[in-house]
Amino acid sequence: MSTKTNPYARIVKKTMDRLIPFTVHWELTYHCNLRCPHCYVVPQNSREELSSGEITSILDILKEKGTLYVIFSGGEILTREDFFDIARYTRKKGFAMRFLTNGTLINERVADQIKDLDPLSVEISLYGSRPEVHDRITACPGSFEKSVKALGLLRERSIRTVVKSLLMKGNAPEFQRMKKLAQEIGSQFLYDTVIIPRMDGSMEPCNNRLDGEELYWLLYREVQQKEKEVDPRENDLSCSAGLNVLSISPYGDVYPCMAFKESGGNLTKNSLSEILHSPIFSKIRSITLSDLRECKRCEFIQYCNRCPALAWLETGDLLGPSQADCLMARVIKGIIDRNQERAVFEDQIRTPSQNVRGEKRT
């Protein structure tokens, strides 16, 4: 996207250059009514979540500091009794909102309330195309039916919906069927395959990650040649964490991104400016490709969308490689190489240069 011709891209670049928190990912609560084993969240029960008053005060600051997008997630956002008070205030202040939810608490009345808020999108997690798959993962019988019903209620009200799925050992074969289901509902479909470690450092959720072969067969139809064009050497690192993106926890802690849970401060005690210039925010912003001892020499680097937070979560080393990203880079290269071989082969059988007797065709 050229910043010379695209005014929006120019503004986004400006927010990065000037550390304006254009996008804020706000985990409003860590409480949830589902029990997904892959979830990274660990509620800190000894701490009080921010009150709606504290949240509205922080929203005032964010508006003043240049925030446009607020993404509310959890936990489950609708377990907060004051969710709609918070969301209405967010709307009144002129933020563009996205809601990430499991959808199980959305009924006709709630869908009407969401409609009045005009969110950019409501994004609902789905882990299967059938109750027996989805409900087994959420450990909550009936959750599939409720989530799918919610998608329908929102679509009836012309609210843009997104089905988001995390593909793992328990549901990978459902991939194409989930895509089809999302299409039938009228939702966009987005998926991810990276399960992140739990906030307390436990790697247990990662046991559900797909291995290389499973990823290969899952993604071989999805990966296009264009992915090869990603070359981090051209722009060092593309991560916007701590530049124009930040994440706020239910307790007011501020992180460079949702996955990187090293706090730069707490908005009930520190100013946003102090937090943005804290050692951890400064550190993550300062990383360049030359700092990455192993990654900078890696033959797969042009296939890699390296996430520093993931490396840190897996190994405690912000500058080292991430197992999950390394695996994905190898899988993508494998798929692209195979596609190229197949393209050459198909080209040869479609336009043979010689006939069976070795005579050149005209």
Partner: protein, 95 residues
């Protein structure tokens, strides 16, 4: 027309970065970036000032004649109203 009082649409999301307003109409999934004059008109559309009052401020700040400023302000607020990004006080609400 110059006595009309523009108000930002209640469902419009926006932010002003330096002199440029980024405006999003969620129902349309549409993002607009306004130029500095348009952004100032947007900023001043607070439901209190009339278009004429806005034009007076524009004339001072952008060093143009009042006639030019009022012409621009009328045209621009009309365009924004058509896109339902703003409405005028006393007229039917956007929703």
């Amino acid at each position: 027309m110059e006595n009309k009082i523009p108000i930002k649409g209640p469902s419009t999301a926006y932010q002003i970065i330096d002199d440029e307003a980024v405006i999003i109409v969620p129902s349309e999934q549409m993002v607009n970036v306004l130029n500095p004059v348009g952004s100032r008109i947007w900023d001043l559309a607070d439901g209190k000032r009339s278009i004429a009052e806005i034009a007076e401020i524009l004339a001072q700040e952008f060093d143009v004649s009042y006639e030019t400023a009022i012409e621009d302000a009328i045209e621009f607020t009309g365009e924004l109203a058509e896109k339902k990004v703003i409405r005028f006080a006393g007229e039917e609400k956007e929703k």
